[in-house]
Symmetry: C2
Subunit: 96 residues, 2 copies
């Protein structure tokens, strides 16, 4: 089976969790509405305070590139940036 | 939004990848067929050889418990065990 998985780990600054989650909800809705090549995109809170993980799945590499180049990812990603405490950590996987 | 996420990391013994993937495909099919409280259950290969990650999502804690207590998880899990190089590492998350 083809497919590309992504686990993105994001660390949010203390006090900015609510703002982060609000913008992320907009982003997730835009991904679902606009990206035919995305089959999963969901935000989770980790056990450590302020740490979030996004589970993502795409049909192929082109779908990953379409996600990163999309207007919604660029626009809403720019709003998420000021909430973060550092660069996102991205793990890329291949569907088995 | 409620929900519980799980990222399970599994290390498979060299040469047992194909057997592992075959049994896991049976397990994933059984989860989809039998677990109303599971909304995602997908196997991925990590960049490191022999390392796999399972992305999982459940409606609530009862659904996680139903998964672990299910006949298919116990039966097929017992077949996966001999393929593994160590105990699975389980990270539990809460949907944001």
């Amino acid at each position: 089976m083809s497919g590309i998985g992504v686990i993105a780990t994001l660390r949010v600054q203390p006090g900015k969790e609510e703002a982060f989650e609000g913008v992320f909800a907009e982003l997730a809705a835009a991904v679902r509405a606009n990206e035919a090549g995305n089959s999963y995109y969901k935000l989770f809170r980790a056990a450590e305070a302020g740490v979030y993980k996004v589970m993502e799945c795409y049909d192929d590499e082109a779908a990953v590139e379409a996600h990163r180049a999309s207007d919604h990812f660029r626009t809403l990603g720019a709003k998420l940036g000021p909430c973060l405490a550092g660069a996102p950590q991205i793990e890329t996987l291949s569907a088995a």
